[in-house]
Symmetry: C2
């Protein structure tokens, strides 16, 4: 068994988080991951507070294990959602795209462990000072909104910058990658893309098939011109968006191009107009299985790889 500061802090069996993915990570998926011994996380994305409350209650009806909520701090509903998670006393809140400082006191009083996603040492240090229980260091090979540094470089930099536990995210879908994350100093891993293949993940069949069939050079990054790079599967939408970035189109028009594209992927399975977010590891995700099976196998495979680490030492 992998027993680390993060399994002990949260009282979970395996040091495996399911990343909060907007439009995707609902109460059903989060509960399935938590029931499997990992930490399931409901994503709030840009959804209203009522959606988040409903999903929290759904998760509570499906599991008595701890689970989390990811709050995208740029959401217009961030303030309301911050109240909801405190009222519902969820075990963990992860945050992205901003600074959760103004909510920290309320959350800590509600007994919530706050674990921000960070992409630089400066933000990691700030979060530790503000009382974060741990941080998630997410490398730029991950899906969705991405930072500059890759997991190989970001994780050791963050580990050497803070004394709270560091969870590695980005580029992790196999035991080899899990073990690599541990060698970089992480004490837990977070996966998004691999959970897209979970039986309990309610994405369109088109989306799921694309993940299972993805080959090595399957993703691309768009959005750099507007300063918000996003990684997704190569698709008609992402290719035409990239072309528009290098055209004379205005920033407002460019922004408008992306509206609704995520819903079209997740809900409609619209191959032409959908934006199918995925990390580079989609190439390594080849089968559907239950969320519990994913959690157990990644933890066991990681442990097995770590046990074999002395293979070349004479």
């Amino acid at each position: 068994m992998l027993v680390t500061p993060i399994t002990e802090l949260l009282g979970i069996k395996y040091p495996v988080f399911q990343g909060g993915m907007a439009w995707i990570s609902d109460g059903k998926l989060a509960a399935a991951v938590s029931n499997g011994g990992g930490l399931g996380i409901i994503a709030s994305g840009n959804a209203p507070a009522s959606y988040v409350r409903d999903e929290i209650r759904k998760a509570k009806s499906l599991t008595d294990k701890p689970f989390g909520v990811n709050i995208m701090l740029l959401s217009p509903y961030a303030d309301e959602i911050a109240d909801v998670v405190a009222e519902e006393k969820v075990a963990v809140v992860t945050t992205g795209a901003g600074n959760p400082q103004k909510y920290m006191k309320m959350w800590k009083e509600a007994g919530i462990k706050v674990i921000p996603v960070v992409a630089s040492t400066a933000i990691a240090k700030l979060m530790e000072r503000m009382g974060a229980s741990a941080v998630i260091a997410e490398g730029g090979e991950s899906g969705g909104h991405i930072g500059e540094l890759t997991t190989m470089v970001l994780v050791p930099l963050i580990v050497s910058s803070v004394s709270i536990p560091v969870i590695a995210a980005g580029g992790i879908a196999t035991g080899e990658q899990g073990a690599a994350a541990f060698m970089l100093g992480a004490v837990g891993i977070q996966m998004g893309t691999r959970f897209l293949s979970a039986d309990e993940c309610s994405i369109s069949e088109v989306y799921k098939e694309k993940i299972l069939k993805a080959s090595d050079r399957c993703t691309m990054v768009t959005g750099k011109r507007l300063g918000h790079p996003v990684r997704s599967l190569k698709s008609p939408f992402s290719r035409s968006y990239e072309k528009a970035e290098y055209s004379s189109i205005s920033d407002d028009e460019l922004e408008a191009l992306a509206v609704g594209a995520l819903r079209k992927a997740v809900v409609d399975g619209d191959n032409e107009n959908g934006c199918f977010l995925a990390g580079q590891v989609a190439a390594l995700v080849n089968k559907s299985e239950s969320a519990a099976s994913i959690v157990k196998s990644i933890a066991e495979d990681t442990e097995k790889c770590l046990k074999g680490a002395s293979k070349w030492i004479r």
Copy 2:
């Protein structure tokens, strides 16, 4: 000691390659690395064949250990350089930016081990079929010309695609990162950026200082518009080049902007107009030391990390 298929194949003490860096990796640096027990590599870049022959002979005068030559296959002098390495019977040739197929027979007859740098599974498989002795899987966090996939994702994909040894490159400057590379299935590591800090590395003092002082978000990628992304330190040159990429400037004008920028960094130390190539790990390179000390310490630190891999297993 780390004894792996690559140390045994090449008869080197440590599974540590010094990456071929155009304008930088000369006979002096390569010999110092090889004398230290790693594999030093002379970079041909766009230099004429006479330069490469001179540097090979210089290295031979400084070491009796095996060393290599990196051939950038897009070089106008590639054919001549291919002949030179065969005539000089260097131990190893690494190749980049193209397909070395037409030289393979000549090189193998000269007893040369050919180890191409690869950034996709398709190319790795092709190289194995063509008789490559090993491949270097270089992730996009590295400096200079880069591929799409990061080390965390590329290395395991390549390892599962070929049965020859895989050396990991990109994002490696510490023992933690070396150990991570081994967990990903690599049996050797290649470093470029860390060797920029070597006493025997003849880059301008300005360049060396920039590497030693680099912080976590120190690099950027330019060149995507022309399809040849390059990672370098953020600098006046790289920022203005990036602006030009999103302007209405023609592709030819854009290409002309970069001419001479590498020499201005390496030779002149020109802070304004130089292009200072570096990998993301520049943030983790903080001291100058001898090439031999770098080779020994990365190998020993990697071994130490691998020995501690079971730390969290109960």
